[in-house]
């Protein structure tokens, strides 16, 4: 390549002034420079071979198959894999930035040991590089010492995004063999446990749904950022392109508390008062019943075929014959009969006219579905908001129907080469018998029904309840930044030995005693069974695209290597397990008997294609009858017992509008939420309890660029983070003009956002479309130790002023209940 030029702008202007060159104006000046072939000949460099490695993205849970372009040992491009069922050759905006994560200049270069015994936000850990052998020996010796004292419960592993059997899937056995109840303390209670619990309460499936979006004609979306952050984002957008141009066009109504691209692209955007989605859903249900719009084939009908639902009037239970639901008349009598649109308008601030219009549209359009996620559920009334919304799916008959909701099937993996149960020693068995409570207090009287309570761990450590923790290991989570009352972790992590596995600097790593850095996703082996998608089973495979850039190790291998160093049979178990690649090879043996639709029947073909999947989904509801796939179509009728065991695993085997599951916990729910025990089973209106001493709702949503905390240090992502409000390089607080005026705040002013927990600052973006009672500061900036770009933003971290309150049944942290005060900084 030749040097481009000698003349600069100044030189040119000088020479043109002398020569009197006129700049040509008007008219086309088309200069042909030749195309394609001729130009190619002038190239000096011989083409280098480009290798495409099939892998799986890691920036949200969606698990998009990716083609990683590698030339001369360097990753220079990432595109979606064309024959991958989720990505279909496409990607979301984050997906393309994977190489920037790989080459992040701030990555940890290898294992390190802390040398500064003082810990604090501003204390330099003074890390000293150590070898892997030293690091693993140091961790193992600590764990062996605890074991010898019979105090294994004082070791805990807290994990974030688990991908599959080769990372988080290894934690269960590790905890069992080691003898701690804390081997796999998950993050789902700061994620989406609210929607799972709402679904479990009604239809018996404790899971996210799979959806047949492409065939639906009405999408009623409560607080799921379908076109920004709701998984699988990339596929959602593919679906969007289809449903918005097909015949008939799918109508979309979005219920949210702020203006989103999802809401803006929809037919209707209803801006509800935060935490009141449930009232809106109940009013929609009321209209559907009162106007006779429910699906009679699924729900059933009045014995006399006449609609007797009238606002305010109770009905005799015997008058209605239910088919697949349970408790409809009781629900109407105790809750729905008074949940009129006029009532809901008062609570939600959405007009009665809009509520009725949406209810009628939703009620008369088939197939229709109601979806929801954290918008309605991260509130103190989140479970009941979610139940009210999910109940709509029963009323319009969308469960397991074309254009409706399903549940995800599992992957027929092969068995691991060793069984953990055979390697438990006396210490492990004694620990199992002792039944020590979990560090996060899950399954104790305090948190009896939740799966996880990561947001409670800092308190457990600080108060040394249920016991004093000794060693805490983190995998793919950074709760000191991302949980409510995040700052409490700064006290907690001073009290324990911290093992951090992040490939990047993190706020956790500032408090770490030892760092054993993970590979980034383009360097590791990992299986990735799908999140609920279209029901049929699927699992992708991460294949290293390049050799690790630094002296790092995949978390799964770090765990196995620690295991090998634990004395006794546990060590033997991990020696036999070998490494992550060996685990994956054994998982893939399951494909021999179940070849995938794309021919994947072995480890090697899995590597080649990057994904195993097998269609179709096996179950379908057609006009109120359930059928199983018979090899060519959905024709084999299912018995009530089969429906109960496979599709509606509730006590009744039906979609329960009076939840028997919740009925068992009447006393607990009554005590925590103030609902009479006889009423706890019904989807119902429960007013949210707002927290925080302030007068404005404070919403901290995810934007499309938010890659689960791993994009904040990518300058390319940072420059695009909050496009809706012009947030480029900086995250703005969206505030309504009148709200701003009352506080003397002008557009662009730095503001102080505070409540009793403290204060953060941000710049205000005066945004007229915002609700006047709500301010919005997207989550993701506000890092103080996450690399040079992440840590130099001028926006605070909202989690520092969100009180740590959870919905008691699901255990989901109530991020959006908080109120704050906003003033000019």
């Amino acid at each position: 390549m030749s040097e481009p030029r000698q003349m600069n702008r100044r030189d040119f202007l000088k020479s043109s002034a002398v020569a009197g060159v006129a700049v040509t104006g008007g008219g086309a000046l088309v200069t042909s420079m030749g195309t394609g072939a001729a130009e190619a000949e002038t190239r000096a460099m011989p083409p280098l071979e480009t290798k495409i490695v099939k892998s799986v993205c890691h920036q949200c849970p969606a698990r998009c198959g990716i083609d990683v372009y590698v030339t001369d040992g360097k990753v220079h491009a990432i595109y979606g894999t064309l024959d991958h069922p989720i990505s279909n050759g496409k990607l979301c905006p984050k997906g393309h930035l994977g190489a920037y994560i790989l080459y992040d200049p701030d990555r940890f270069k290898g294992p390190m040991m802390r040398t500064n015994s003082k810990k604090g936000r501003d204390e330099d850990p003074k890390f000293k590089p150590i070898s892997w052998d030293e690091a693993l020996a140091a961790i193992a010796s600590r764990l062996n010492a605890l074991r010898e004292k019979g105090e294994q419960h004082r070791f805990a592993i807290v994990h974030g995004r688990g991908w599959g059997a080769s990372d988080a899937g290894l934690l269960g056995d590790f905890g069992k063999l080691y003898g701690t109840p804390n081997g796999a303390l998950g993050h789902s209670s700061i994620c989406s446990d609210g929607s799972k619990k709402a679904k479990a309460a009604l239809d018996g499936n404790y899971n996210y749904n799979a959806y047949d979006y492409r065939n639906t004609n009405y999408l009623l979306n409560f607080g799921a950022a379908f076109l920004e952050a709701y998984r699988p984002y990339n596929n959602n957008m593919q679906v969007w392109g289809h449903i918005r141009t097909k015949s008939p066009k799918t109508k979309v109504t979005v219920v949210d508390v702020r203006v989103t691209t999802t809401g803006a692209a929809a037919d209707h955007l209803l801006l509800v008062k935060p935490g009141t989605d449930g009232a809106l859903a109940l009013a929609i249900a009321h209209v559907i019943l009162a106007e006779g719009l429910w699906d009679r084939k699924f729900v059933g009908d009045f014995v006399d075929g006449v609609n007797h639902f009238k606002a305010g009037e109770t009905l005799e239970p015997g008058t209605f014959k239910e088919k697949w639901t349970l408790g409809l008349i009781e629900w109407w009598n105790t809750e729905l009969k008074n949940r009129t649109p006029a009532w809901a308008a008062e609570i939600t601030s959405v007009t009665e006219r809009d509520i009725v219009a949406v209810a009628r549209e939703f009620g008369v359009t088939r197939p229709a579905m109601a979806i929801f996620e954290r918008g309605p559920t991260t509130h103190t009334n989140g479970l009941y908001n979610g139940m009210a919304i999910h109940a709509l799916n029963a009323l319009v008959g969308s469960m397991y129907a074309v254009g409706g909701l399903m549940n995800q099937m599992g992957v027929p993996y092969g068995k691991l080469p060793v069984k953990a149960d055979e390697f438990m020693d006396d210490l492990a068995r004694a620990a199992a018998e002792r039944k020590m409570p979990r560090l996060d207090r899950v399954k104790t009287k305090e948190v009896p029904l939740a799966s996880n309570n990561i947001q409670g761990i800092a308190q457990s450590i600080v108060e040394e309840k249920p016991y004093q923790l000794d060693t805490l290991m983190f995998y793919l989570t950074n709760p000191i930044f991302s949980t409510p009352n995040a700052k409490q972790w700064e006290e907690a992590l001073k009290k324990v030995f911290v093992i951090e596995t992040s490939p990047f600097p993190s706020e956790t790593s500032v408090f770490a005693d030892i760092v054993v850095p993970d590979h980034t996703y383009l360097e590791r082996w990992q299986d990735t069974p799908t999140y609920p998608f279209q029901g049929w089973p699927m699992t992708g495979l991460r294949v290293p695209a390049v050799k690790p850039l630094h002296d790092t190790k995949a978390f799964g291998d770090t765990l196995i290597e620690i295991g090998k160093r634990i004395k006794g049979p546990m060590g033997e178990h991990y020696k036999k397990l070998g490494n992550v690649e060996n685990v994956l090879r054994h998982l893939a043996k399951g494909f021999e008997a179940n070849p995938g639709d794309n021919g994947v029947n072995s480890f090697d073909t899995w590597v080649e294609k990057g994904v195993w999947y097998k269609k179709p989904y096996l179950y379908r509801q057609i006009a109120g009858e359930f059928y199983e796939w018979d090899g060519t179509d959905y024709r084999r009728p299912m018995s009530n017992q089969e429906v109960k065991s496979k599709l509606f695993p509730t006590e009744s085997g039906r979609f329960e509008l009076k939840s028997s599951y919740l009925g068992h916990y009447g006393e607990f729910i009554s005590e925590r939420l103030g609902i009479p025990p006889t009423r706890v089973g019904f989807p119902q209106w429960l007013p949210p309890k707002y927290t925080g001493s302030g007068d404005l709702h404070f919403i901290t949503p995810k934007t499309a660029m938010h890659a689960e905390g791993r994009s904040a240090n990518l300058p390319h992502a940072v420059a695009l983070y909050q496009p809706v409000s012009g947030g480029r390089n900086e995250m703005f607080l969206e505030i309504h003009p009148e709200t701003a005026r009352q506080r003397g705040i002008r557009n662009g002013d730095r503001v102080r956002i505070s409540n009793e927990l403290g204060a953060i600052t941000a710049r205000a973006h005066v945004y007229p479309a915002t609700r006047p009672d709500t301010v919005v500061l997207p989550f993701g900036f506000g890092h103080w130790a996450h690399g040079r770009w992440a840590s130099s933003r001028k926006t605070g971290n909202g989690c520092e002023i969100i009180p740590n309150v959870s919905e008691p049944v699901s255990g989901l942290a109530s991020y959006y209940t908080v109120k704050v005060k906003v003033e000019k900084a």
Binding site: S2, E3, P4, R5, R9, F12, S16, T24, G25, V30, T31, S32, M33, G34, T35, G36, A40, P46, P47, L48, K74, H76, Y79, L82, K90, C92, P93, K94, G95, Y100, L102, E228, N235, M237, Q238, R244, T245, V259, T261, G263, A265, D267, A704, P715, H716, V718, A719, L720, P723, V724, R728, P737, N747, V766, Y767, P768, A769, R771, W789, S792
Partner: protein
């Protein structure tokens, strides 16, 4: 010879900015230097505020005003319809940036908006403004087309991924990224667009999908009054609008 053009369906566009990041990745752009930008517009106020967006590549005009003003003939129109910048000729005078009615040309200033400046992390050498490890393979870089990591002091812009489209088989009516044989010749933004809001094809071929879409869905060109005749067409559909060129914002007291 094809005359390449693009169609963007605003009814499908979700404003996700994947076109922006795919372009940055493919073409080694600096943070915030969005050859393929998405512009967002806010009008009205709660509860009926209106948010719209407009993806904006270079329009590759039939009659490009940038070409007309370029004093060194650095910016030029190819026979197959692209407007390119020859970085060996460009002197960075920025006349073209003023002449362009669409604001799609960029000049990398000394002071980067996204700090710290990534160019200092990956300093350039021998005619490269910067030298990131994820840069385009050297053999694909082409200064005459304005492709790849750029030299300092030149203007840059969307080149329709000329290193890709110029390799397409002759006579192809449309570069469809779902066709494995054509995928690698299709512009990055078109390849990745998840809702399939983008189409790329030969505007001179009556059988091309782009011609069909322009006809059936009444494709429009931005600022047609300038006479530039863009080769990028927009489909506004029933549920999409082309936003006002600037947002209306209530004056603060």
């Amino acid at each position: 010879m094809a005359r390449w053009g693009m169609v963007i369906d605003l009814e499908k566009c979700t404003g996700c900015q994947a076109c922006t990041t795919a372009c940055q990745m493919e073409n080694n752009r600096l943070p915030g230097e969005n050859w393929q930008d998405v512009l967002f517009y806010n009008e009205g106020e709660y509860p009926s505020g209106k948010l719209t967006w407009l993806p904006r590549p270079c329009m590759h005009c039939e009659n490009p005003s940038c070409v007309a003003v370029c004093p060194t003939k650095a910016t030029y129109k190819t026979e197959d319809g692209a407007v390119l910048i020859n970085w060996e000729r460009c002197i960075g005078c920025k006349y073209c940036m003023i002449a362009c009615p669409y604001g799609v040309r960029f000049y990398a200033e000394e002071k980067q908006k996204t700090q710290p400046d990534i160019r200092k992390v990956y300093p350039g050498d021998s005619g490269k403004m910067w030298n990131p490890p994820y840069r385009m393979p050297e053999h694909k870089r082409n200064l005459k087309w304005g492709v790849g990591v750029q030299p300092k002091g030149v203007v840059s812009k969307c080149n329709f991924c000329y290193h890709r489209i110029s390799q397409a088989p002759k006579g192809t009516p449309d570069l469809d990224p779902n066709d494995p044989k054509l995928r690698d010749f299709t512009p990055a933004c078109v390849v990745t667009c998840a809702p399939t809001a983008r189409y790329f094809g030969d505007l001179d071929n009556p059988k091309s999908k782009v011609r069909q879409l322009i006809a059936e869905k009444r494709g429009v060109r931005l600022q047609d009054q300038t006479g530039n005749r863009p080769q990028v067409y927009y489909l506004a559909g029933e549920a999409a609008t082309i936003p006002e060129t600037r947002s209306v914002r209530r004056k603060q007291s």
